[in-house]
Amino acid sequence: MVASSTPQPLLRMEGITKSYGSVQVLHGVELSVGRGEVLGLLGENGAGKSTLLNILNGVIQRDTGSIVIDGSPVEFTGPKQAQEAGLAFIHQELSVLPYLSVAENVFLNRLPRRKGAPWLVDWAACYRQAGEILERLAVKIHPRTLVGSLGTAEQELVEIAKALSMNARIITMDEPTASLTESEIERLFTLMRALKADGVSVIYVSHRLDEVAEICDRATILRDGKIVNTVDAQTTDSHALATMMVGRELSELFPKTEHERGRETLRVSNLSTVKVDDVSFTAHAGEVLGIAGLVGSGRTELVRAVFGADPITSGEVFVNGEAVTLDSPGTAIRHGIGLVPEDRKLQGAVLSMTNAHNITLAGLSKVSRWGQLDRGGEKQAAKRLIQDLQVTPSRIEQETGRLSGGNQQKVVLAKWLFAGSDILIVDEPTRGVDVGARAAIHGLLNDLAGQGTTIIMISSDLPEVMGMSDRILVMHEGRIAGELPRKDFSEEAIVMYASGLEPTTEGAKA
């Protein structure tokens, strides 16, 4: 660890551990933040950042370890205690109330009361005090404005104002810039520098490495629930940060089988949507095409548009050379496209239905004639797929909602096997899935590719996407920032492209 510039840090977390069941997600994490310091907290998705920050802000409880603020140890039983101790947590998804005014949001639950009549709100004081805080932040928003009429960036400022009104000394910001434009980010940074000058400390989580050098004093890198290093953010370059974030060998979990890349099956040309900007690519029979990039980079939006689930603003999609009208998922399915969506519970499976019914859902025409279901044929097909994919428990009448995450995902995959998809798009196929099911899903995707299916796989898990893919497209802000053939795969190259930077030559060539 690099020694902190201040002799006694404002916040010190020591030996923090946390386990869920038998899985340990934090292994004795140490972290310190000085007064008026901006500390960057870096790590891949799943490195344990959220768990650590939730512990700091009293949302969840640690197993062991200590938290010391201003020299005295603290114990939070809930978020309220943490707030009272001077901590504020600004989440990526803002928690402002759109139909209330700025002042009401700032003083929510703590509206100033009239002297002598504490059951009445002192609105004059409320607006005046809110105005003072906004002024201190040099923010030009009127306290009476409805928060819902503000832009995302301004809503974020309201959250910060709220934190300051509670006399927060340590503000945690979880990816605050994810949905901000360049100029809004600049404005946020100006504000953060003002906070620094006021002695307020900030823990800043971001995936954008270029921002870290710009705003952070030091950066702590978390990987697999352990602290890798704490470095001086000003003198460490993005490349080194990326290496520390990923820094591991490809595991042998991904038995990549080499097979012939066949003819072109999918061609996407100049596709644009609200979140996707002029994207073109092709995919081939027997190929596993990986799509990497940060959450929010437009990966999911891209594949949903190809599948006809979201409206497009321009562009075309060809399946086996034939133009496809992107009007509905039904059309895409008829052209042999399948989509395993990123959220299994909200988009993938109908949890209240049985496994058999979920499996045949996208191919009902295969088990029905004149609208009459062939229930015998349906049961047989479902039974076979459940055996092939080793779904447990294997009863076809089992309600899918009662299965574990991995088995639910197998049922969703079985749905597309039953529908006979030639182009299978899988969005974070192994998120929230246990190790065994994860290997089974990887094996299945490999087998399908071997049989000539085109697999398009989105994954935030770099070892996974690198282990499985023949080719990787990296997205950044709605565009394809880079394309890597298998021989040029490197985690550094992907992270650099995903951060909107050009990889250096030692990483990979574009």
């Binding site: 869920y20 209240s352 998120r431």
Partner: protein
């Protein structure tokens, strides 16, 4: 990583809990049947008048009208929707059909000498009912208004049309054609016509919901609309279909009621939406969508019917009947709510 860990854990730790949940859900489905059988046994012991074939036929005849609506309402509720306008549809279709049947008369300027054969008049009535249902479906799918609010609107709108059409006067028959009387007052093989119609409707809807792909789509849409859409199902079209079907069935109920009462009054069908919804919910169909069955609703409407019949036999006043029916509905809805909470955790 933390999310992986959270997903892994419940697989082992909560297995016994889940078996319990399984028992509970099956118990819910059984509950309405057990309650009905229990009620019948208790009432048979307490009141000799209850346990007679004629009394059972009487219950069936009363239940048939709201039961036809409840069968259609079941499909709507399985899609996670609701339709409050059916009672008004009963009133409008009854009045429109009555006005077109020979022998009908009223002070309303809309009831003219223009008459149609009974079969055509019935078809016009069913078309009006279907049109109201179609309108409901269209509003709900195209504007994304909550079904509760949208159909509250059509409920008031259509009831207003009833008042306009009848001018506030009841439509009488002098005399009622035999063919039309047969619908509500006739019998085949000793079983009243409305009971036959009810049986046919229940059988057809049960078949459609369990043995046809449209039924599968209805359950999928109610269980998870986004997953249904991403599986290529036509969500909007299916919803419009179930609302149209319910409008059609509410129209049928309106025609049966008008024939049975031999008059079309402005208040005909008022409150039927609540009786039908009570039957559906008591029958175990979840207001959250995705779960339930037409057969459950059959049991549910009979439970409501038996309770009302018993209250009649004991000479309870209409006021008391309202209170009891309301309590039963509250109980059923609370049980459904608790069951849904339990499934979520």
């Amino acid at each position: 990583m933390s999310s992986t860990a959270q997903m892994d854990r419940p697989v082992d730790a909560d297995a016994p809990k889940r078996r319990w949940a399984g028992l509970n859900i099956r118990a819910e489905n059984l509950a309405s049947g057990v309650v009905l059988v229990g009620l019948v046994i208790v009432l048979s012991v307490v009141s000799p008048a209850f346990l007679s074939f004629s009394n059972f036929l009487d219950i069936a005849r009363v239940v048939a009208i709201t039961g036809v609506i409840a069968a259609g309402m079941t499909l709507v509720i399985i899609t996670a929707g609701i339709d409050l306008s059916v009672g008004s549809t009963v009133g409008l279709v009854g009045a429109v059909t009555a006005s077109l049947v020979a022998g009908s008369a009223s002070n309303s300027p809309f009831v003219t000498d223009f008459k149609l054969p009974v079969s055509l008049a019935v078809l016009v009535g069913l078309a009006v009912g279907s049109a109201i249902g179609f309108l409901n479906g269209l509003i709900i799918t195209k504007t994304r208004i909550e079904p509760f609010m949208a159909t509250l609107g059509t409920m008031i709108f259509v009831r207003g049309l009833v008042y306009l059409f009848t001018g506030g006067y009841p439509i009488h028959f002098d005399p009622m054609p035999h063919d039309f009387a047969f619908i509500g007052q006739g019998a085949v093989l000793g079983i009243p016509t409305p009971v036959w119609l009810f049986a046919i409707v229940v059988a057809a809807l049960w078949w459609a919901s369990r043995r046809m792909s449209v039924g599968r789509a209805i359950y999928a849409i109610g269980g998870n609309p986004e997953a249904a859409r991403l599986s290529g199902l036509k969500v909007d079209r299916t919803k419009i279909f179930v609302y149209t079907l319910l409008g059609f069935l509410a129209g049928l109920a309106g025609i049966i009621l008008t024939s049975r009462l031999a008059s079309a009054d402005t208040v005909n069908g008022q409150g039927y939406e609540l009786i039908a919804i009570s039957g559906v919910v008591i029958g175990g169909t979840s207001l959250g969508g995705g779960r339930g069955s037409v057969i459950g609703s059959l049991i549910g409407v009979f439970t409501v019917g038996v309770i009302q019949n018993a209250l009649n036999l004991f000479g309870a006043s209409t006021q008391v009947q309202y209170v009891v029916t309301g309590l039963v509905l509250l109980l059923a809805i609370s049980l459904d709510g608790i069951a849904r909470l339990r499934r979520r955790t």
